[in-house]
């Protein structure tokens, strides 16, 4: 499941700094939200240890 950080202050029902998932964004155009500066992708990859 992808997660995104809310960057803007006019994202419906969320505050800047909140995290949303792609399930929360069902029906929304996520690429447009990223391009518009409302969301940023979060890095979910855990650092691998040897």
């Amino acid at each position: 499941m992808a997660t995104y950080k809310v960057l803007s202050d006019n994202f419906a029902g969320k505050n800047a700094g909140d995290t949303v998932t792609d399930e929360d964004l069902e029906g929304a155009n996520i690429e447009a939200l990223i391009e518009g500066g409302h969301l940023s992708t979060t890095n979910n990859n855990k650092k691998e240890t040897e």
Binding site: S8, N10, A12, G27, A28, N29, E31, A32, E35, G37
Partner: protein, 135 residues
């Protein structure tokens, strides 16, 4: 609820609340009339077909980050969800929300107006499926 004057309608486009920029909004909820007239009918007979909705929104323009232009420009040529309420308050039987999913935005006008005008843009979202909620 009595009759009222629109003063604080709520318009959310692609999960972004742009209400503070909206100067007018019209939600046109339609269902196609599919003719089913047959022999013996005394007049045209119709049955309900597909929804044929549209939402027309006029907004004041703002080129600042995350505001109107930055939000709308990437949506042109794509489909998204638009939510409209007559008032920004909580959803209720007297303030229903109308959610139009998969509504297509064909174009926008990043720059429009005459000298002396307030910069604005008019958007029309076409198609999609409307669902009304009262809770």
């Amino acid at each position: 609820m009595a009759i009222f004057v629109l003063k604080n309608a709520s318009v959310t486009i692609n999960s972004v609340d742009l209400s503070a920029y909206v100067t007018s909004v019209t939600l046109d909820y339609k269902i196609d009339a599919v003719e089913s007239t047959a022999m013996g009918s005394g007049g045209h007979v119709y049955t309900g077909g597909l929804q044929a909705n549209s939402v027309t929104v006029n907004l004041n323009q703002d080129f600042a980050a995350t505001k109107t232009e930055a939000t709308i420009f990437p949506l042109v040529g794509t489909s998204t969800t638009v939510v409209v309420k007559a008032d920004s308050g909580a959803v209720s039987t007297t303030n229903p929300s109308y959610t139009i999913s998969n509504s297509y935005l064909e174009g926008s006008q990043p720059v429009a107006g005459s000298v002396g005008d307030l910069a604005a843009m008019a958007l029309t979202f076409n198609g999609g499926t409307l669902v009304k909620a009262t809770t």
